[in-house]
Amino acid sequence: MREKVKKVLEENYPEIDFESSTELVDDGILDSLTMVGIISALSMEFGVVLPYEDIIPENFNSIDAMVELIQKFS
């Protein structure tokens, strides 16, 4: 699952190094525009609907956090 998430992220945003930080949102590497794109790509790939109340920085700060979020709803 982790590799698949990483592949989706890198295909959509090749300019971002997703392994560079575990505070991707808090460090300003991911802004709201990018987050929307990521959520859209992950939803399409894994067929999950992420509730708005779970769209919080903590769930997008690292690849592992995103994997955990998808697993929670798949």
Binding site: D31, S32, V36, I39, S40, Y52, I55, I56, K72
Partner: protein
């Protein structure tokens, strides 16, 4: 009672002494509530206080109702998987939705009514009884700010992102809290309420830091902003009389005036809150150092930007129907088109609404579209820009390139300011054409630049003030100035404090002819 009036300074001095003498948290909360209501009563009129109380009751009743419904969810969710919990919570959200919508309709209805009244030139009511006359309206002080914070608070409770306040008087104290009600920052009530429950006692360092910040705010407002206003008020009310370099200079000064005014006000209110042990959210982070339009709006009026991001942009972008649409665009036209679609539509909505928040005229709609278009283009063209800079072998990491980006962003801000500063699109057109009609370079040498409300001495004071603000901003990028100053010997510290006070007293704009009622952002 404007923040820069003598009445406010006297009010705050008395208030702070009483506040700091209170030995218990609940007594300090009480002083905040009474002080804020007294401030609001004398800053506005009795009728707006009634409207504020009505809004607070609506917010309190709806938030409590939603929280009570969710109490059932907390009991039922035990032992369920995350997915089952999500399904269960969706059911509870549905149950609470009618209370949310009713409260939002009522509080936004009041805001829209006041905005529409102003737009349609209805009669402004002085008393509550006059409000029930045909085509009468009233503008409660800070209505846009407390309404936006209230909407955010209700939505956060609905999404379970914030804890509901169950004590009405604490919520009222938070809503009416005098440092943030007039011009923001647009606070997240849950964050402020959390601090209200643990208000600390007296701390010499904290009170000193708060007062220092207030002093710096007064410097920006009374020495720089109000002095520049002497000339810009003349120029922007008759734009056809000016041309070329004159317009360029006055538009740049107008941009600095707005920054000094609004950020100065934020320094005053954030400093005032700090003396009480309350940390309000920052609203400015040296915006003129921004390298792009998007970055500028992450550094200028930050709490408004975050509000629109959290409560308009993200809910639209994350809406399941919109997501489906974005996914189908992505499938049909590729990843890039999908990304652009998901970003551009919500951004467009956000910027039209941001324009309407600032004003209801056509100029503000154009202003919103201007910034929306710039930010969307920046996002869409970013990869192409990167390719071009690589092809042209431009080193984007050099100071020179960063400086170019900063100047470009500042000029884009100046153009944006020109759209609304005269009050009409005709005025904007006059300024824009005037800029290229003739150069008028001679005004730089023959002294005529000093004939429009700001003489040579005052120009020099403004220039010095801007240099000082700029220097402080540069230092703030690298260090915490007040903390560093606090570590210096006492003689040096007090030399700086007395220096700023003396500068304020000598060069500040006040006295019998001075109108202290006008902060540029207090009319919302």
């Amino acid at each position: 009672m404007s923040y820069n009036s003598l009445t406010f300074i006297l009010f705050f001095a008395v208030y702070l002494v009483i506040y700091l003498c209170m030995p218990r948290v609940w007594l300090r909360q009480g002083v905040i509530l009474v002080g804020s209501l007294v401030f609001y009563r004398y800053a506005g009129r009795l009728t707006p206080l009634a409207i504020l109380l009505l809004t607070s009751m609506i917010v309190y009743a709806a938030s409590l109702r939603i929280a009570k419904i969710y109490d059932g969810y907390e009991v039922e969710k035990e032992g369920l998987s995350a997915k089952e919990q999500a399904v269960l919570f969706a059911g509870y959200k549905k149950k609470s939705r009618k209370y949310l919508w009713a409260a939002l309709a009522l509080i936004l209805g009041i805001l829209i009514y006041t905005k529409a009244g102003r737009l349609l030139h209805w009669t402004e009511a002085g008393k509550l009884s006059e409000l029930f006359q045909w085509k009468a309206y009233i503008v409660p002080l800070g209505i846009s700010y407390y309404t936006f914070s209230s909407v955010g608070y209700l939505l956060d409770i609905y999404w379970k992102k914030a804890k509901c306040e169950r004590n009405y008087f604490s919520l009222l104290a938070c809503m009416s809290y005098f440092p943030h009600i007039v011009q923001g920052p647009i606070s997240r009530y849950d964050k402020v309420l959390k601090q209200f429950h643990t208000l600390p006692g007296f701390s010499y360092e904290r009170v000193c830091f708060g007062l220092q910040r207030m002093l710096w705010g007064y410097f920006k407002k009374m020495v720089v902003s109000d002095r520049i206003a002497l000339v810009t008020s003349n120029v922007f009310s008759a734009p056809s009389e000016y041309a070329g370099v004159e317009i360029l200079i006055f538009v740049i000064l107008g941009a600095v005036e707005l920054y000094a005014d609004f950020s100065g006000c934020m320094d005053i209110v954030i400093g005032a809150a700090q003396t009480m042990g309350v940390t309000l959210e920052e609203n400015f982070k040296r915006p003129f150092f921004s390298k792009s339009a998007a970055e500028f709006w992450r550094r200028w009026h930050m709490t408004l930007g975050v509000w629109f991001k959290d409560y308009i942009y993200m809910p639209i972008a994350m809406n399941p129907k919109f997501m489906k649409l974005a996914v189908s665009v992505r499938k049909k036209s590729g990843n890039k088109a999908g990304q652009i679609f998901s970003a551009a539509i919500p951004l467009g909505v956000v910027w039209i609404l941001t324009g309407l928040w600032h004003g209801t005229g056509a100029d503000y709609v154009v202003w919103g579209c201007y910034w929306g278009t710039l930010i969307i283009l920046e996002t869409v063209l970013a990869p192409e820009m990167k390719k071009w800079t690589q092809k042209l072998r431009i080193d984007t990491t050099t100071f020179g390139y960063r400086l170019f980006q900063m100047i470009r962003t500042f000029l884009l801000f100046c153009i944006g300011r020109m759209i609304t500063v005269t009050g009409s699109l005709e005025g904007f057109a006059l300024m824009l054409t005037g800029l290229f009609r003739e150069h008028r370079l001679w005004v730089l040498f023959d002294g005529s630049l000093y004939l429009h409300g700001l003489d040579q001495k005052n120009f020099a004071v403004v220039f010095f003030g801007i240099l000082l603000m700029w220097g402080v901003d540069i230092m703030q990028e690298k260090m915490k100035i007040r903390e560093s100053l606090g570590r210096q010997p006492i003689v040096l510290r007090w030399f700086v404090y007395y220096g700023v006070i003396a500068f304020l007293l000598i060069f500040g704009m006040y006295g019998s002819a001075y109108d202290s009622g006008a902060f540029l952002y207090d009319a919302f």
